[in-house]
């Protein structure tokens, strides 16, 4: 490092330096204003549609409120009921946990698998990619109705199973098979996940594969030691998105439950499809227990925050970044 000698500024220079500093501060202040101006739509939106609702949700969670009458302060009653007396709460938690623990990994596995197949084919890549992606284009409501029809106990899928002399489950009319039915639907819609993994797989530098080949690695070892670490950021991304979507799982379950009979409570059959969002919706908007729904939403908020933190912390251990910084 070269040394720089600084001469103390002469008297008129002092004024100029001070002026420069003032100008810098003013321009910094102007920059701040400009930035805030650009940010203003989001700032307003964030305050009005996130900060305020979350905080006032906290207030409502301590009340009994049906909109018609004044909210009545009930302290922790809602929470007590939730954790000790509401059987459906625990059912909803279990079902949502099932989605997060089963459907998310399944989608990732199938996504990686399908993407891997795509990396191997040379001709017709565009065609296959389109076909695999197409189901994602179908709106969830339509897909759900479609699967209700397909998995009708007397319907096409069971007909094929019967033809192959396999057992024919009752799918959405059987609480033990309803969630697997939804899992089938989720696997049919892996297109988006698959595309991301395809891009990631194609991004893995071929030199690494060549190096592995030279070392005499088997395909499995290649996958474990080259492919997986290289695509781990994408896996992490898919896991986070998957978990968040798992918590907000609603539409498919709602449509499927009500498909048989509109009087069916959300969660039919027998609460096997009662997910957390459905329970929240039910309590607040079909039962008009706004206070209880608010309490449910706060518990959901806390759990999601914790899960995300855990995921981010754990990611430091198994996610490997090629370059750049977070």
């Amino acid at each position: 490092m070269a040394t720089v000698t600084v001469r103390p500024p002469a008297a008129p220079e002092k004024a100029r330096v001070a002026e420069r500093r003032r100008r810098k501060r003013r321009s910094a202040w102007r920059r701040q204003l400009v930035a805030l101006a650009f940010m203003s739509p989001w700032i307003i939106g964030f305050t009005a549609f996130y900060v305020y609702p979350i905080l006032s949700s906290l207030y409502f969670s301590f009340t009994k409120y049906d909109i018609l009458t004044q909210p009545v302060w009930v302290g922790f009653d809602n929470y007590t009921f939730m954790f000790t007396s509401d059987g459906r709460f625990w059912t909803a938690v279990r079902n949502t946990a099932w989605v997060v623990a089963v459907i998310v990994p399944l989608q990732i596995l199938v996504g990686i698998g399908a993407a891997t197949v795509l990396t191997r084919v040379r001709r017709g890549l565009g065609f296959y990619r389109t076909v695999f992606f197409l189901p994602t284009m179908v709106p969830l409501v339509a897909a759900a109705l479609g699967f209700v029809f397909l998995l009708n106990p007397g319907g096409p899928v069971n007909a094929v199973l019967g033809f192959l002399h396999l057992p024919e489950p009752l799918w959405f009319r059987d609480p033990a098979w309803a969630k697997p039915g939804l899992a089938l639907m989720a696997m049919w819609m892996v297109g988006q996940t698959m595309i991301i993994f395809l891009a990631a797989l194609l991004d893995v530098p071929t030199q690494l594969y060549e190096a592995a080949d030279i070392e005499g690695a088997s395909p499995l070892q290649r996958f474990r030691h080259v492919t997986l670490p290289m695509i781990s950021p994408v896996i992490f991304f898919a896991v986070v998105i998957g978990v968040i979507n798992g918590f907000r799982y609603f539409t498919e379950a709602y449509v499927v439950s009500k498909a048989g009979d509109w009087d069916n409570p959300v969660g039919t059959p027998q609460d096997s499809l009662l997910f957390y969002s459905s329970h929240l919706y039910n309590s607040g908007f079909e039962g008009f227990h706004m206070g209880y729904a608010a309490a449910l939403s706060w518990v959901m908020f806390v759990v999601i925050m914790v899960c995300t933190l855990v995921l981010i912390r754990s990611s430091r251990r198994w996610v490997h970044y090629q370059g750049g910084f977070r």
Binding site: R31, Q32, V34, A35, A37, F38, M39, P41, W42, G45, F46, F49, Y50, P53, I54, S56, S57, F60, I67, V117, R120, V121, Y128, R129, L134, P135, M137, V138, P139, L140, V141, L145, G146, F147, F149, L150, G154, I195, I196, A199, A200, P233, V234, F237, I244, T251, Y254, K258, A259, W262, S277, L280, G284, F285, M290, W298, M300, F301, I304, T308
Partner: protein
């Protein structure tokens, strides 16, 4: 990379050629099998949509006769065009809203230096993780007070105040635009607004297109929010709700009509997809890989 020597290709011995072909065949068969599995549900849905009521209960896979009138009958059952218009209104205005509000915010988060930038970005990301259910109770109450329940306003207005996904995607993209371009414009005397409009936006067209497309589709398919805010007023139903509510009409709609309705609902999306495939795939990749 080493240079000069010309690489001559050795003729590939037949054993290896055979092996390569077998592998290719194996890969293709898996791909084809997967394709069939992905397409089969479509096939069933389409064939059911064309069946008569009597055929519904039977095991037949092929509709005979082809009841194309199922599609036209639908229009008699419910005001399809009104619901399509509502969906279009929500998706169209919503997309305009997120783009208009997302661009300046993404610009501030990526190309300006200011205090609180890092914190704001983290906050934006955090809202991505928040399921809508966490905020609906008070939001619903606000909209009741405002008298907006039963209209599309609660769906559209918030989108004019920023959408986290849009902002995130645009910010990632803006960050890839070289700083020199902004600097050059600044030297020419442009202020930030002009830089944004004249330099950044034209360069970011693919990202903006991707974002607009994603948002349009998200709104088109959205079920939960319209159910909540517009669900009690059939005049403002979107296609997504009407499709589900179709199953609840007092004159029951059998599966064949439901499937026909599903197809009509999906068709615009598939059409858009075919015309904008590239934008899609690029957009999806943008989100995932750049992380």
């Amino acid at each position: 990379m080493s240079a000069a020597t010309v690489v001559t290709r050795r003729p590939v011995p037949p054993a290896i050629r055979r092996r390569r072909m077998l592998l290719a065949v194996a890969n293709h068969s898996v791909a084809i099998a997967l394709s069939i599995m992905f397409l089969l549900p479509f096939a069933f849905i389409v064939s059911t949509a064309l069946m008569t009521n009597q055929q519904m209960g039977s095991l037949s896979i092929w509709p005979s006769p082809f009841k194309w009138s199922n599609f036209t009958d639908l229009f008699g059952f419910f005001p399809f065009w009104r619901y399509a218009w509502n969906s279009l209104l929500y998706a169209g205005l919503g997309t305009i809203g997120v783009v208009l509000s997302g661009i300046p915010v993404a610009y501030a988060l990526s190309r300006l230096r200011w205090r609180g930038r890092q914190v704001s970005f983290v906050l934006v990301l955090s809202t991505l993780m928040l399921p809508v259910q966490v905020t609906i109770v008070p939001l619903y109450i606000i909209f009741v007070r405002l008298g907006w329940i039963g209209s599309l306003k609660p769906l559209i207005v918030p989108l004019f105040f920023g959408d986290a996904f849009t902002i995130f995607l645009l910010r990632q993209f803006f960050m890839t635009i070289p700083q020199e371009l902004s600097d050059a414009a600044r030297v020419d005397g442009a202020n930030d607004l002009q830089i944004l409009l004249r330099v950044i936006v034209p360069l970011a067209k693919p990202a903006i297109a991707a974002v607009a497309l994603f948002n349009f589709l998200y709104c088109w398919n959205d079920f939960f929010s319209p159910l909540l805010y517009a669900g009690n007023n059939p005049d403002t139903w979107t296609l997504a709700i009407s499709l589900q509510q179709l199953t609840q009409l007092s004159r029951g709609i059998l599966a064949n009509l439901q499937m026909a309705a599903s197809i009509l609902f999906t068709l615009p999306v598939i059409v858009i997809f075919f015309f904008a495939q590239k934008v899609f795939v690029e957009g999806v990749t943008l989100t995932g890989v750049k992380g």
